[in-house]
Structure formats: C-alpha cells, structure tokens
C-alpha cells in the first residue's frame, strides 16, 4: 500500500453520475404515491379571511386539501426553529407574513392535477401594510408577530468584545473610516430543488422520509420532536443530493405537509418544490446591514474595529445558527488582522420576507464578517493613501502569534498570512499590474486590482460552545473492515457534491494502509449511519474527518494486537510503518492490514474479541481557521458599466490537503458563486414586499461565458489540533472572493473618487457611480 492522503484520486461517486444513474429525490417513485402542490399567498402581509377548498376538492384525483387550521387542530401548525428561540408556521394561519407563504396544500394523484387544483383553492385575504425594510421594522409601528411577547419586531441583540475600549480607541485614532456595508439577501439555489417523499407504512408503524437533506439525523430528531413519533419509528434517507450550499439544512413547510398527508392517508406523498418556491420561500442567506468603523494610526497600524449590524431575518427567526450564537461566528470580523480593540453587535428584526438566514456556502455569518473587514481595510487604505497590500502586510497577525486569541473571542489555530499573500503577489505579478494600471489611468482607462486576505472559521464545533436543538455539534464515523480487507465506512455527514465517498476512503485508507478503492463510503441513511450533525458550514472535514481518522486509529490499535499475535512478538515490539505492521529492529518481518483483517475473523488472539470494527464520536477541541489571498484584476467599460474580470487568482491555505483535485474543484465552484454574489445574484423586494427574483430568468446564475477562468495555488499550514491537520475548504472561495471582486472594481473607479458600491455590482450601479463622479 502507498499514500492515500494528498493524492488526486478520481472520484468514486462519479461512475453513477456520468451514466445518469444517480438517485436523486425526484427519481424516487413508490407504488400508489400521491403528489403535493402548495397554494401561496400573493400578499406579503394579509389577514386570511377564508379559505374555500370545495372547488379544488371537486377536481377528479384530488385526495385532500390541507390548511393551517387543519394542522392547528392536529397540533402540527407550529414548528420550532433550530436554535429554539422562535417557532414558525407550517401553513399560514390567521395571517400571511411573506409573499408566497404556503397557505394550503393539495394532495392529488398526479403533479399536474395537484397544480390544477391549487388554482381552484379560493383564499380571501385582507391586505395589511407590509414591513419590508429592517430599519422600518425597528420603528415598531407595525408589529408583525401577534403570537409573540413582547410586541416588537426586534428579535435579539447580541454583542461581543470590549465596547468601551473600542469606543475610546476609535475616538482617539488619527484616521477613521465609517461605511454602511451591505451583504445583500441572496439564495443558494442548488440546481436540484428541495423535496420529500414521505412514506408512512401503517403495517410497520414506520415513517420513511426520503429528503433532500444536508443533516438527516437532525431532521429525524426534529420530526420526532414535532410529531411525537418515537425516533426509532422514523427513518430518514437523504439520497443523492443535487447541491445544497445550506439550502437543504432547514425543515420546510412542504416537508411537514407531505408527511402529515402520508400519515393521515397512509400512502407515500411526494413534494418537489418548483424553482419559484425554492427562491421565494426556502432558506435565504445574508441580509446583513453592517456599519463598519476602523481606526488607525497615520502610519497605518489599525487601532480598533467596531461593527454594528442590522439583520433582516424575515418573518420567523429560522436562522440556522448554533443555539448560543444567534449571529453565528460573526466575531471572525477582525479577520486576518491584529486589532488591539474590537466590538461587534447585531440586532435582528422581523420583516415581511421569508425566513432563513442560512449559512450559504459558508460557516455561520462568516461571509458577511469577512466581506465587512476586507472592504473596510480597502476603505482604510484609500483614506491613508496606502497600497491595500501594504496596509494588510502591516496589520497581519504574525506567524509567531499563533495560537492567536482574537479580541472577539476566537483562538486562531495556525497561519502564515504574509507568506501566503507573498506567494499570491508573485504569481499574479502584482508590481507589473500596478505599472500597467498607472499607464492605463493616464489614458483614462479603468482597470482595477482587488485583494482579499481573508480568514474564516469553520468546523462547528466544540460541544461546550456549539449545539443545534441542544445536540452538541460533534460528528461521527463508523468503520467495518471485512475479513478480506475491504470495508465499509459510514459518517454522520451527507455530501452534496463534495466528494466524501472518495476523500473519506482516502482518510481511512491512509490510516489503515488499505486501498481507498476497496473502502465503500455510505452516508445519509439514519438507520445505518452513526448520528451526526450533517454537512454544512465547512464542518465535514474538520469534524467528521477527525472522527474518521480517530476511528481508523482505534481500528489500528486493535489491529496491532492481532498483528503481534500473527508476528508472534510482544505488542510493544510491533510498529506501524510504511502502511503495515513491522517488528522493531527486524526489517523483513511484517503483516499487512489485509492479513490482520483476515486474522481478526479467522484467528484472533485468544484474549481478543473477534472482528474489526469501531465507531468514533469526535468533539473537536477548537474550530479551524482556513485562510487565503485572492486577487482579482478587472477592466471596467465606462460607457455601459460592464466589468470584465480579466484574471482571478486564489491562493488558499486549508491545512492538509486530502485530495488536491477535489480541493481545486471546490475552490473553482466557490469562486463562481462568489462571482455571482458580487455581480448578479440577489433576492430583491420592492417597497410593497414583492419578491422580484422568483425564477432563474430574474435570479441570475452565471453561465460558463460570464464566469472567469480561475487560477489557483496553495500554501499548507496544517491545523495543529486536527487529527490529520486539515481545516476544510469548500467555503473559503465563497467567503473570500466577493470582496476581491468589489475591491477590484472600487480600485478601478478610484481615480473618479468612487469608494463604495453595494453588491451586486450591476452594470447600472457601476455606470451610475462613474457618471455621478465625472
């Protein structure tokens, strides 16, 4: 056997996907299955005066029409949100709180008939004035949630850091910047929509839920808590997931209504959302309005950071943040810089918009924080008339400062920010680009170079701090090695394209000296997989990856006993070397793990249990802190406001790299989403609360033609506390890139005096900024 970790092994999951043999949710077709379609409110805020089901019920093939009142009678109308501070309606009950809110469900023999009948459900609304802007919500002139006490739209205030010291430091700083920086509402929009097939088997009393789920175990527990069905009677299966990006973490009304219908009718019920339902009702992301202030000395040494945020949470507080962290890991807002003082606060408000606040391809609220600090540093550089690279270099947390205690409470594990930035500057040819820019500026051409030297925190997380529904955010692995030396590996995570079937096999193969090709990885079935918290927030490798390595080491410990037995030496004389067990001092005497596996079943030592399997629940001692330097080079067309991204370089440091090919693929994908967020992706509401981006003709996903070509490289600074030194990478590119694009455009417009434009940087916004400046 040879090395498994660090090898660009081709993906084990691909053979089924390239043949069209993946099995996604909508591919599941059970005998007698019925279909659910939902009725939605056209009003963002309205009282429901009446619902008339009769015409819909009369359509041949319609089996049931379910309303909020029906659910309330069954005590299933309200759903607890994940962090437990709020609850949300399953179907609109009494009033609707956002446009497209689910009002009723129609169950029918086909999708077409269900949609036909949806049109015939007559709902009488009494429109109410909507609250669309979180700053308007703050006024409390219209109270959205009648069901809550006290009567206010304010959800919570959260703060971290030394408020007084920060204020003092800012007040005495020679140079200060202040800007309202908005991370606009957007949506993950994986290409596979969300869906469920709920199958209540009245004979066995078991409820099987096929769900597009990034966290099947958590969903099992949640369904048990809501319905009162014992957890052993619920079986959640998350089949192949066609992209998630955070969208498939929450529990949605469609899931609940389909489940209720299956429980009542006793046949399987399928619900697959339309793209419009996906964009208008399921987990949105961001919507943070951040007032960022940075103080510095005249020489460019930062003195303090203060960020005050207004968060728009929509109609229910269903943000998918850990219980004790309502604003997630927003405290990472000091970024890669050594701030002597810092303070951050977040106030969240209800508005007439759908609930969510999910971590869209990022750890909880890390994208917002990273955007704020990286934009802030550029604004400060501008004010100081300093090269943004130089400002960053001066203020980086230095290599020797790790482990670094940040003023907002994190302990950064490892990093060498200056070295990574240096590498990026060399590759992109920074000096030459600045020279070219200077020449272009003389000719009036708009060229910009944008840099982002971000640090994120991922891998939630240590159980003493992080939980969901009270469940600690550990993760798990189970390994069974078969007699002939192949095996099955199961984890509590659920991949959606990240390549776990390959990388998990590589971790276990590396630890055990087995061929990853012969290690089958299975996830997503709660009957077989060990309990885990799922895949989101870049937690799979930092948490489950640790569990896998440690489970494998447990196997190895037992294997060592068996090896000693086979080698007829004392256990102390056995050493694990070159992926096999040898005898200290006797080079040619060894046994392979395959031989050990066979012996575990055929010839175990007399005092040892037969078999070779184990599980491990890993509670990580700390979060991990991946980082990187991203550089964008852009050209701006002053006539139209169009931005052309000429080059984009990402130099990432995610610690130990398990599969370089997969890591690079993750970075490409995250960069494309960061590009989309910077330039086109937004969920916008007009003043009446109408969603203006209800399908892919208006919610813009870039194609291969708009998306730039990506250049990537890396440095490797392993995490000291992670069993294999890995930090996680799936989200770095999405967290780190938007600000590189925006900084580049602002740099291009610098000669005109333009300092900030809110994302997305549409042509018109850029054009307007240029026109207003000149």
């Amino acid at each position: 056997m040879t090395q498994s970790i660090g090898v660009s092994m081709k993906r084990k999951e691909d053979p089924r996907f390239i043949r069209g043999r993946g099995r996604y949710l909508d591919d599941i077709k059970l005998p007698g299955m019925l279909y659910l379609a939902l009725v939605h409110s056209p009003y963002p805020h309205a009282r429901i005066k009446s619902i008339d089901k009769s015409k819909a019920m009369a359509v041949p093939g319609v089996k049931a029409v379910i309303t909020g009142e029906d659910l309330d009678a069954a005590k299933l109308e309200w759903l607890p949100t994940f962090h437990g501070y709020d609850k949300q309606m399953v179907l609109a009950f009494g009033k609707t709180l956002y446009q497209y809110q689910e009002v009723a469900g129609v169950i029918a023999t086909s999708r077409e008939v269900a949609h036909d009948a949806v049109e015939l459900v007559e709902v009488e609304y009494e429109p109410l004035d909507p609250v669309v802007d979180p700053y308007q919500a703050k006024e409390d002139t219209i109270i959205l949630r009648d069901d809550r006490e006290p009567k206010t739209n304010h959800i919570y205030h959260w703060e971290v850091g030394d408020k007084t010291a920060t204020a003092t430091a800012l007040d005495t700083s020679a140079v200060r910047i202040k800007e309202r920086i908005i991370s606009p509402r957007c949506h993950p929009a994986p290409l596979e929509p969300c869906g469920i097939v709920a199958d209540m088997n009245k004979a066995t009393g078991r409820l099987t839920l096929y769900m597009t789920s990034q966290a099947p175990h958590v969903h099992r527990t949640a369904f048990s808590l809501v319905t009162g069905i014992p957890e052993d009677k619920i079986h959640v299966i998350s089949p192949d997931v066609g992209g998630g990006f955070g969208n498939k973490v929450p529990v949605y009304p469609g899931y609940v209504v389909a489940t209720v219908a299956s429980v009542i009718i006793g046949v399987p019920v399928k619900w697959v959302e339309t793209r419009t339902e996906n964009l208008t009702t399921t987990g949105f992301a961001r919507d943070y309005h951040m007032d960022v202030e940075i103080g510095a000395t005249k020489e460019g040494k930062v003195t303090a950071l203060r960020v005050s945020t207004v968060a728009d949470h929509g109609a229910f507080d269903a943000a998918a943040d850990p219980r004790k962290y309502p604003a997630g890991m927003f405290g990472i807002v000091t970024g890669s810089y050594d701030f002597p003082a810092a303070f951050a606060e977040v106030d969240a408000y209800f508005t007439n918009k759908p609930p969510g606040g999910i971590a869209y391809r990022c750890s909880f609220r890390v994208t917002e924080a990273s955007f704020a600090i990286e934009r802030g540093m550029d604004l400060l550089a501008r004010k100081l008339e300093m090269d943004p690279v130089e400002l960053r270099r001066q203020n980086f947390i230095k290599k020797e400062q790790f482990p670094y205690s940040s003023p907002l409470g994190f302990t950064y594990d490892s990093g060498d920010y200056a070295a990574t930035m240096r590498k990026a500057l060399d590759i992109i040819g920074y000096e030459a680009l600045r020279k070219e820019q200077a020449e272009k500026r003389k000719r009036g051409e708009l060229m910009g170079i944008g840099i982002s030297t971000f640090t994120e925190t991922v891998g939630a997380g240590p159980g003493k701090q992080f939980d969901i529904l009270g469940i600690k955010m550990f993760d798990s692995a189970e390994i069974r090695i078969h007699p002939t030396g192949s095996g099955i590996v199961r984890a509590g995570t659920r991949h959606q394209g990240q390549g776990h079937e390959t990388t998990w096999a590589q971790i276990v193969g590396e630890e055990l000296g087995l061929d990853p090709q012969e290690l089958l990885v299975e996830e997503g079935d709660t009957d077989t997989a060990p309990y885990g918290l799922g895949t989101y927030a870049s937690r799979s490798t930092p948490v489950a990856g640790g569990a896998l390595a440690l489970a494998a080491r447990r196997i190895r410990e037992k294997a060592k006993k068996i090896a000693a037995h086979l080698l007829e030496v004392a256990e102390d004389d056995v050493e694990w070397k070159d992926y096999k067990f040898g005898v200290k001092g006797i080079p040619d005497k060894s046994v392979t793990m395959k031989e050990v596996a066979f012996a575990a079943y055929t010839n175990p030592p007399p005092d040892t249990e037969p078999g070779l399997e184990t599980s491990y629940y890993y509670d990580p001692p700390n979060l991990t802190f991946p980082y990187g330097t991203y550089i964008a080079v852009v050209d701006v067309d002053a006539d139209t406001g169009a931005v052309k991204v000429r080059r984009f370089l990402a130099v990432d440091d995610c610690g130990t790299v398990i599969n370089p090919m997969i890591v690079e693929g993750q970075i490409h994908g995250g960069l494309a989403e960061g590009f989309a967020i910077a330039f086109m992706q937004e969920i916008k509401y007009d003043e009446d609360g109408n969603n203006l981006n209800t399908n892919f003709t208006e919610y813009l996903i870039p194609t291969a033609l708009e998306t730039p070509a990506w250049e990537t490289d890396r440095t490797v600074t392993p995490s000291p506390h992670h069993p294999i030194g890995a930090k996680g990478v799936g989200e770095s590119p999405n967290v780190g890139s938007p600000q590189a694009f925006v900084n580049a455009v602002m740099d291009a417009l610098a000669p005109l005096g333009v300092t900030h434009i809110d994302m997305p940087l549409t042509r018109e916004k850029v054009w307007r900024a240029i026109r207003n400046a000149s």
Partner: protein, 164 residues
C-alpha cells in the same frame, strides 16, 4: 394521444396527455431518470437531450407529443457496449462534476456540439455550454473535460490505424 418515440435506440409506444413535457415522459413513463429538471423557465439545461442525434434540446421546453416519430438520446444512451463515451470518461478524469445534477444535461449539450464542431476552442466550448447552468464546478473543469473528449474523438481514427 398515442405516440411512438425511439429513445436510446428502443422504440416506445405510449399514450400520453398532450401537456406532458418530454422530460417527464422520459423520467416518469420510461424510468430514464438521468434527465433532470432544475427550473421552470428553460434556464438551467439540466434536462437537455439530443433530438434526432443532431440537436440539443431542453426536454422541459418540449412536449412529449412533439417527439412523436423522433429519436431521442439521453445520458443513459451515451455508453456503448459497456464502454463510457469519451465525454463521460473525460468528465470523470477532469473532475468535471460534483453533485452530478447538471451533468447529464452538460454531457448531452457537449455531445451534440462536438458533432457539429469537433475541434472547439475554449471560448467556443464556453459559448456552447452557456445554456446549461452548473452551481458546483465553476465550469473550468467541464471545459477541460470537453477539450479532452474532443481531442480523443478527433484522434480516434489515427489511434485505430496505429493499432491495426
């Protein structure tokens, strides 16, 4: 309405409602679930199939009744004699897929494109797949995969000559 459609070389006779979209005909009537549906607005291209071998079409924007008397090739029809089509192999080799949801549509769009344009440039590949969305890969490895397949498909006769 009664229709006959040849899919991946097999003729199927079915009675369908006129409103049944071709994508759902393939998925629900024929069980060929490799063709996916990702939107309602003809935007995403997850549902692309080949019509009569020479046109890539979005099967969610075509009714099954329109396919009456025509030949459809889906992702399931790419493999020949147990051997992956060079495009399938290239997507695997180049890590041209992650979640796999857009993959069948991408493969079918590229499959038709390479028939008309056997030696596309990178820009031409990006243009040709711009009716297909991908959320995972950032497109770069898809472009590389199509390039690999194009090279292999155009090199094949030469390789065969060497072999004989």
């Amino acid at each position: 309405m009664k229709i006959n459609v040849t899919v991946n070389g097999t003729r199927y006779d079915r009675d369908v409602e006129p409103r049944m979209l071709l994508a759902y005909f393939l998925r629900e009537e024929l069980g060929l679930t490799g063709t996916h549906v990702g939107c309602d607005s003809s935007s995403c291209g997850c549902c692309v199939v080949a019509l009569d071998g020479d046109r890539a079409v979005k099967s969610c924007t075509m009714f099954a009744v329109q396919a009456n008397g025509h030949e459809i090739t889906t992702v399931e029809g790419l493999e020949e004699g147990g051997k992956l089509h060079p495009l399938q192999q290239a997507f695997w080799d180049q890590h041209g897929l992650q979640c796999g949801y857009c993959t069948p549509g991408m493969l079918m769009t590229a499959y038709v494109m390479l028939k008309h344009k056997p030696k596309p440039s990178e820009a031409e590949i990006r243009e040709a797949i711009s009716g297909n969305l991908c959320r995972c890969t950032g497109y770069q490895n898809i472009v590389k995969a199509v390039q690999q397949a194009a090279n292999e498909l155009t090199a094949e006769p030469a390789a065969a000559a060497v072999g004989s």
